[in-house]
């Protein structure tokens, strides 16, 4: 999979740009296949545990992906990714003393899944609270399990579809060059995308309503 951000087209709203993209997919011959949702909540280590060990507060991200409805992903920035079942959310409530949810940190992307040959394309609207902040584009090529093997092929597909907004190779692709790609690698990409969009929040982007 490759997850990337599609900038909002000039003079258009997020919604209009999403429509533009999905229409392009349908013209390619892609077929609608339901919807998807990826969400992410930020936690930081509680102040009480910080002082005693004298270490900097680490952020932890707890994510869900409708593609893996029975799983819950817990990620640290540049750190390990834990894949647990959905009971993990209950556990996080119990761990309130150690990890506290950052206020209004919830960010998610929702949209439509499209199937084109063996490609799965998910175009989503990224929202924080109630406002649309940007557009996410995920392209998955199911037959290939080694990400770096099919990057050229993915790139060609992305170029056909995103034109000049084609992203560079995701960093997870280069990390372990013949490792089998897994759902955690997709989560890391979404986490990075969400963090990027959070930072853009301060600078209003032209065209976003």
């Amino acid at each position: 999979s490759s997850v990337s951000q599609m900038p909002v087209a000039e003079g258009k709203s997020v919604q209009q740009t999403v429509e533009l993209l999905t229409r392009k997919l349908e013209m390619l011959g892609a077929e609608k296949q339901g919807t998807f949702c990826v969400d992410c909540e930020t936690y930081h280590t509680a102040a009480s545990t910080l002082g005693s060990q004298g270490q900097a507060g680490k952020l932890m991200y707890v994510m869900h992906d409708s593609e893996y409805p029975l799983s819950c992903f817990a990620l640290f920035e540049n750190g390990p990714c834990l894949i647990a079942d959905t009971n993990f959310d209950v556990l996080m409530v119990k761990l309130k003393g150690f990890f506290q949810s950052a206020k209004a940190s919830k960010i998610e992307t929702r949209g439509t899944r499209y199937q084109y040959c063996d490609f799965l394309v998910k175009v989503g609207t990224v929202t924080m609270g109630t406002s649309a902040r940007g557009i996410s584009v995920e392209v998955e090529y199911g037959p290939c399990v080694v990400a770096s093997d099919c990057w050229s092929l993915l790139l060609e597909f992305l170029q056909n579809f995103l034109g000049s907004h084609t992203p560079g190779a995701p960093t997870v692709f280069g990390n372990r060059h013949d490792a089998v790609y897994g759902p955690a690698d997709t989560m890391v990409q979404y986490m990075e995308l969400f963090n990027k969009i959070r930072k853009q929040q301060q600078v209003p982007v032209a065209g976003i309503r």
């Binding site: 063996d118 199911g142 399990v145 056909n160």
Partner: protein, 311 residues
Amino acid sequence: MADVLSVGVNLEAFAQAISAIQALRSSVSRVFDCLKDGMQNKETLEGREKAFIAHFQDNLHSVNRDLNELERLSNLVGKPSENHPLHNSGLLSLDPVQDKTPLYSQLLQAYKWSNKLQYHAGLASGLLNQQSLKRSANQMGVSAKRRPKAQPTTLVLPPQYVDDVISRIDRMFPEMSIHLSRPNGTSAMLLVTLGKVLKVIVVMRSLFIDRTIVKGYNENVYTEDGKLDIWSKSNYQVFQKVTDHATTALLHYQLPQMPDVVVRSFMTWLRSYIKLFQAPCQRCGKFLQDGLPPTWRDFRTLEAFHDTCRQ
């Protein structure tokens, strides 16, 4: 059309024959009229009977006469259809509505065409019989015809020999691992894993490859009871395409006298799929066409092509 006329239809005799038929019909109906009217009023019963019988006899005579005449004429008319290559259908040429329905000329065309087809098929079958392309060795040559039920020798190779050939091929290609099993008696089944790209189930009959199914590296190749699943196809279009091509390759690599060479050639060809997602098409230079990577590998050069880009 010329040869239809040259058969010599005697049109005059034809016309006479038709009037002879008319005469015969009327004489026959006169016989029945006479029978229907019965005996006419005459003075005596004897007179009545005599007159009736005489009248009846006259009528029968004339039927006989007309019938003889018709037989004579029918010999003169001849049998035009007998010598024609299309037999009775040749008479279609006599149809006056020919201009509207060109049935006869179409018939001639079809006849010529099927003649040619038969001729060429004969040539082709002769040529093919000279090549030993057949999958079973028992169909080769004339001598085999005398003992059609003889078992081809390559089908009764000892399992140990098959194991040796397979393990030698396994050692030849480091990126390819071959796992041999015999779940159904003597016939071997192979599970070939090519890098982290694909898996191939190969069903063998002795050293002949009977069937192959190509699936993704992350796809399940076993049934619920833990046996190799030789029937279900891949969920991905790209591997379904490769399965089709592998089946074509099985028909291409044939050498009944040296089945081990065939298996080795097939595996060498299969190994070229290690770059299935990394090799652009050698003709159009692209990776994707209709959403698929180049799924075809040339049998000789092993170069990658899209299905529609191959020569």
